[in-house]
């Protein structure tokens, strides 16, 4: 029959088109992740090792990014700090995304009262000021890694829930989901088989954004002294510890801030590179 051979050009191509900026972002983020993984091998000095008599030392051959307020090597500190900043944020993002996506998809697939109650409670949660909530939590429970990750996850779950739910509601109205419903499939099967696999792209984009927010939140907490506790130090704590160096223009305070900026901007560029390319010029092209 005539329909037997689909014209090849009508096939969907999954090849990813990255813009230049997106490519740049991906390289930056990839670089930071490698750094975090390989920190002990890359760093010349230990995390808590005082290696120089000069505090707030300038950039030099021995200390490429200078020394900090105790005379430690800033480059090594940043390399180690990447592990905390990226690792914690990644864990918190994954947790928030997991909760948000599961609940959001469940809400969309169940509909009715369940959806209503869940959406309302998430709305309540989202109206709490994030940083304030975090301060209260840390004050009450102490600044341990699980508390930090859990708090950040709680703060960003409602956002992930909203996005996941709205994407899932759209998919839920598609005919293949109706077919599954008419077949008699249970809600969880519909969720896992039909809805979730089609949410990957929009949800990944959201994942990236949420990661950026969490990096900034955790950095703010550290800057306030309520984040990761010494001697471990993430980039936020490095900025705080070296804040006196600002007067001398010490790289010790500037460089961790630059690190935070490159990571968050890199993630942003990467997301835009992936997501922005998917619009079609003619919405009803056949």
């Amino acid at each position: 029959m005539n329909e037997a051979a689909p014209a090849t050009h009508r096939r969907v191509r999954l090849g990813v088109h990255l813009s230049l900026a997106g490519l740049f972002g991906t390289i930056v983020v990839g670089g930071w992740i490698l750094v975090a993984l390989a920190a002990p091998a890359l760093a010349q000095h230990g995390e808590a090792q005082i290696v120089s008599g000069t505090v707030f030392g300038p950039m030099s051959r021995r200390f490429p990014l200078g020394t900090d307020y105790l005379g430690r090597d800033v480059l090594s500190l940043i390399l180690y700090g990447a592990r905390y900043t990226i690792g914690l944020a990644l864990a918190a993002t994954a947790l928030a995304a997991l909760c948000g996506i599961t609940l959001g998809t469940l809400a969309a697939a169940s509909g009715g009262a369940f959806d209503g109650v869940l959406s309302r409670s998430m709305d309540t949660l989202i109206s709490l000021p994030g940083l304030m909530f975090a301060l209260v939590m840390v004050a009450a429970l102490g600044a341990s890694v699980p508390v930090l990750v859990g708090t950040a996850a709680v703060i960003y779950t409602p956002g992930a829930f909203r996005i996941a739910r709205s994407v899932a509601v759209d998919i839920n109205a598609m005919e293949f989901v109706l077919v599954a419903r008419a077949r008699g499939e249970k809600t969880h099967t519909i969720m896992i088989e039909e809805i979730l696999p089609n949410m990957v792209l929009p949800v990944l984009t959201d994942f990236g954004l949420r990661f950026v927010f969490i990096v900034l939140l955790l950095s703010s907490l550290s800057f306030l002294g309520l984040g990761i506790q010494p001697p471990a130090a993430d980039w936020g704590s490095l900025v705080r510890e070296n804040i006196q160096g600002l007067g001398y223009g010490a790289p010790a305070v500037i460089m961790p801030a630059v690190a935070i900026a490159t990571l968050t901007i890199g993630v942003n560029l990467m997301i835009d590179g992936f997501g922005g390319r998917r619009r079609r010029l003619f919405a009803d092209e056949r």
């Binding site: 029959m1 005539n2 329909e3 037997a4 051979a5 689909p6 014209a7 090849t8 050009h9 009508r10 096939r11 969907v12 191509r13 088109h17 598609m174 005919e175 293949f176 109706l178 077919v179 599954a180 419903r181 008419a182 077949r183 008699g184 499939e185 088989e193 039909e194 696999p197 089609n198 990957v200 010029l281 003619f282 919405a283 009803d284 092209e285 056949r286």
Partner: protein, 615 residues
């Protein structure tokens, strides 16, 4: 080549990157010319390159595609020689494009007038007042209601047919050298299509617009085009003046297109057993039911029907009349507020969740849009395997073997199992869709517009498949379509639905015989015919959506009915009449009155088909 021509294309080629590297020819060596003020039509199935050619006239290539041509001139401009910026100025100024979905082309948040004149303002062609005055002239030429005021409405405040005409006004405001119409009426009901086509034709003739009309529907094209170019797989098959092409197609492919435009009747087995499915007094709608138990958006108002085993029951009506709602009710996706559904004497629960698995298995649903009916993230193998596991507990090798059998049943090669839906053509998707339904081994298949999104030829093949499956497997169908010709081609019995009420019900042959319910008559005579000049003689009734909100006392068709009896029809529920031809209609007019009122168009034209089927 004609030096006067507004559009000159010679040896146009468009290549796209192939899947395995290399290049694929999407359009191959296409040459044609369109004279000033002429309308040319590009006709072919989807995937034949129609839209690609149309877009290349604007210098636009879809992602990764490359255009080359010996000549590609529009109104004296060499399109391929334009720089990016010049191209941007050229589009919207010298070439305008009208797409199938007007709704997608309008911004819902802005008033219509602002959007219509935007092109003229952007290109600095005229002042706002002049542009608005011109827009109003165009609205009038396009026979839009209230031309002075319609511009101040928002897009959602006008009907689909009106929006399509407003899109034409938007395109014509800059007096482009070429107007491209890409399937502009495909998404419309037949009754609306007539109005839109008339308006297009008039404005094109009056203003001597050069136009390229892209469509898969020969009958529509026959009404408006001066000459027709037939395409297949990116190559030109034939080009000829409209009348000649229709009367004497030179190419056999054109002949097959002509044949598919008038679907042949599929034989129906005679059955007299007790009904497989019976529904009675169904009232259904959307929204949370109120105190009375009735939904706030009522759609169906008391529907009765019975489907005998092995037969096909057709439901026709305009968009929004409640056809899909009916299918959803039967499938258990939308529990009805009133009424009962019985499958082989067993009463079914309203909600799918409360039905037994065996009951669910016996009714399967196949949807309209092949694109959204299959999960894009799952392979064909997995899509078909799911009902096999769910209903029959088949897995592993047994499931694979059964899948292969099912694919064979719907005439698909077994190699397709590894593909994703995005890698299939529309017709193939619809076959996979059917295979999934058949995997359950149902007795009743609900077909909701299964051929509407397909081209005529592909759609005809699906109809053949349905007929074949019915004979082989003894299936019954509830076949829903807005296209009377399709319903008649397949179904033994037909119900005409208007505003959620059945206005006529009878065997398919009764639809050929007068008198008809006035609405059936309008529907029938609105189906475009394959002869130039049909448009001028076609009926004109005020278009309207076939949906009336809320319950009403009189006849729902009253506002549009040519045969209405003023007060009676508006105030009293029309009685059911049994006509001599064997059908049942709901109308105040008596059989004799209707007979004398109905002109010879409409039903009469379908008679040759009937004789063809009996011979």
């Amino acid at each position: 080549m004609n030096a006067e021509a507004a559009v000159q294309v010679a040896d146009l080629r468009v290549t796209a990157p192939g899947l395995t590297g290399g290049q694929v020819m999407v359009v191959d060596a296409v040459s044609f010319a369109i004279g000033r003020g002429e309308v040319a039509a590009l006709i072919g199935e989807s995937g034949s390159g129609k839209t690609t050619i149309a877009l290349s006239l604007m210098g636009y290539a879809r992602g990764g595609c490359r255009i080359s041509a010996a000549t590609l001139r529009v109104g004296g401009t060499d399109v391929l020689g334009l720089s990016r910026r010049a191209l941007a100025r050229f589009r919207g100024r010298h070439v305008c494009y009208i797409a199938q979905s007007a709704a997608a082309a309008f911004n819902p948040a802005r008033r219509i007038m602002a959007q219509v004149i935007e092109g003229a303002l952007i290109h600095g062609l005229m002042k706002r007042e002049a542009a608005e005055a011109k827009a109003i002239t165009l609205f009038r030429a396009l026979q839009l209601p209230e031309p002075e005021r319609i511009g101040s409405r928002f897009p959602h405040q006008v009907s689909g047919g009106q929006l399509q005409r407003l899109l034409a006004a938007m395109a014509l405001i800059t007096d482009p050298e070429l107007l491209i119409l890409d399937e502009p009426t495909t998404a419309l009901d037949v009754t609306t299509q007539i109005e839109v086509l008339r308006a297009f034709k008039r404005v094109v003739r009056e203003r001597r617009v050069t136009a390229l009309y892209v469509s898969h529907d020969l009958a529509v094209v026959a009404q408006i085009a001066d000459h027709i170019i037939v395409l297949r797989n990116g190559r030109m098959q034939e080009e000829a003046a409209t009348a000649r092409l229709l009367a004497a197609p030179a190419h056999e492919y054109t002949a097959s297109l002509l044949a598919a435009a008038e679907p042949a009747l599929r034989a129906a087995p005679a059955q007299t057993a007790r009904p497989l499915l019976e529904i009675a007094g169904i009232v259904a709608g959307y929204g949370r039911p109120g105190n009375s138990g009735l939904p706030p958006v009522p759609v169906l108002h008391g529907i009765d029907l019975a489907i005998r085993p092995g037969s096909a029951f057709g439901v026709v009506g305009e968009s929004g009349c409640g056809k899909s709602t009916l299918a959803r009710v039967v499938a258990g996706l939308l529990p009805p507020a009133r009424g009962m559904i019985r499958l082989e004497g067993e009463t079914l629960a309203g909600a799918a969740a409360s039905r037994t698995r065996e009951q669910l298995r016996r009714i399967q649903i196949v949807f309209q849009m092949p694109d959204t009916a299959l999960n894009p993230a799952r392979t064909v193998a997995r899509i078909i395997a799911r009902p096999l596991v769910f209903y029959h507990g088949l897995s592993g090798a047994a499931a694979r073997q059964r899948s292969a059998e099912l694919l064979e049943l719907v005439h698909l090669p077994p190699s397709l199992v590894a593909r994703y839906p995005g890698e299939l053509s529309g017709g193939q998707k619809q076959r996979v869709n059917l295979a999934r339904a058949l995997a359950a081994e149902p007795s009743l298949v609900l077909c909701d517009e299964v051929t509407s999104a397909l081209d005529t030829v592909v759609g005809a093949a699906i109809l053949d498949l349905l007929t074949e499956l019915r004979e082989k497997l003894g299936l019954s169908y509830l076949f829903i379509s807005h296209d009377l010709a399709t319903v008649r081609a397949l179904c033994d019995e037909v119900m005409v639905l208007y505003a959620g009420r059945s206005v006529e019900r009878g065997s398919r042959d009764t639809l050929l015989r007068r008198p008809l319910h006035p609405y059936s008559d309008l529907l029938l005579s609105s189906v475009p015919e394959l002869r130039p000049g049909w448009l001028e003689t076609a009926p004109s009734a005020p278009a309207g959506i076939g949906r009336v909100v809320g319950m009403l006392d009189g006849c729902p068709f009253f506002p549009r009915c040519g045969a209405r009896i003023s007060d009676l029809c508006a105030q009293e529920k029309p009685p059911l009449r049994h006509l001599a031809k064997g059908a049942e209609i709901a109308c105040h007019r008596t059989e004799e009155q209707l007979l004398s009122l109905q002109p010879d168009t409409g039903a009469a034209k379908l008679l040759p088909l009937a004789t063809a089927s009996t011979s």
